[in-house]
Amino acid sequence: MARSLEDAITKLERFVRERPALADVPVAIVGGRLVTLRDMLEMLRRGEHVEEILSALMRLGIDPSEDELKELAKEYYKGMRGALVVLTSEGCKVVTAEDAVREIEEGTEVGRVLMEMYLSMLRTMRMLLN
């Protein structure tokens, strides 16, 4: 993972350029707010929260706390315009953005799947960032 400011900016610039679909995924809480990799890049360029961002990049997708994961996942799924079709042991669920937030908040089986999917996504992004 990025060990210096320059290295981090280079990696983030490349990622945002090559993977625009993933640049706006909320990935961490920095300065008390949920941020994406694109946000991190802009903040690093301005010299804001540098240590916090570098630390967040080091930990991307690695054992986030349950609360942090929940907040990030809910923010992530809020942006859905289509829907996820989830085949569970209880049948089929068509999950819209509103459904996703509710399922995560209520800790249902679908909510668990959504959170695990989001975490799996973070790990993929970590790999792509490097």
């Binding site: 679909a21 289509g82 042991s89 089929c92 999917m117 799996s120 792509l128």
Partner: protein
Amino acid sequence: MPRLNVAVYTAPNFEVATCYFWKAVKHLPEYAPVDAWEIHGLEANEAVREAVLHHLKEFDPAFFFGCGHGNPDVFTGQFYDRIFWTCNCRELAGRVVYLLSCLTAQRLGRDIVEKGAKAYIGYFREYVFYIEVPARCRDPITEDKYARAFFDTTLKLIGYLMSGKTVGEAFRMYIDDINKWIDYWSRQSDPDAKYIVSALTWDRDAARLYGDPTARVSSGALPFGGYGYAPEILSAILGASVGYAMTRSPMGAAKGATIAALTMFVLRKILKRLGSGA
């Protein structure tokens, strides 16, 4: 002994998820050499255990594939009719099985292989896909651009098997295809692209292959029962000879060849259709 180039599949259709696969499987001819195959589809209300068992016994296919809801021990069909379950799947012995269903790789898939199936492909976790319009069933290949990646890769997997690839080769190619779609969607600016990427990643990581990776379900992708286009070619030669003999001109030979080859092609299509009962 299960018959190569024979397949039975289930495609229930009673809610959004099953409807998507039911629509997708209509595109199978675009992905697989169906002319070289005998395919028996059990769709909608036919996708039930009784019909599946009858078809497996009657047609003895080397390849069984299906879409349906599941759990670690059960694969279901129309309206959750239980088709196979752990310790009750001996009918799949000797066959290659692909279940587009959630969780069956946890236990049922292993049991299918332990009870004698040559190989099984399925999923260890919940299966997920992304659609453009909530609660509407659209054709995932031609109408729903977000769902396309999921069903394109599924149909390609089935097509690889039907084209003669081993189970191991087909599975690796399936994973590669998913990775290509992940790469494609991750490079798009569409705000929904990230949800497709995460669902594809999830499904890819949940996919499992058990059993013999060298198993095959096809003798090769030759149309019309394995003779290829040999009858058409022979007909063309005969037609050219007759055409030349009658007209003493190359044009006559060409016309004779064309008419004879086309006639043979159409005749074989008709006979195949009559033979399959379609």
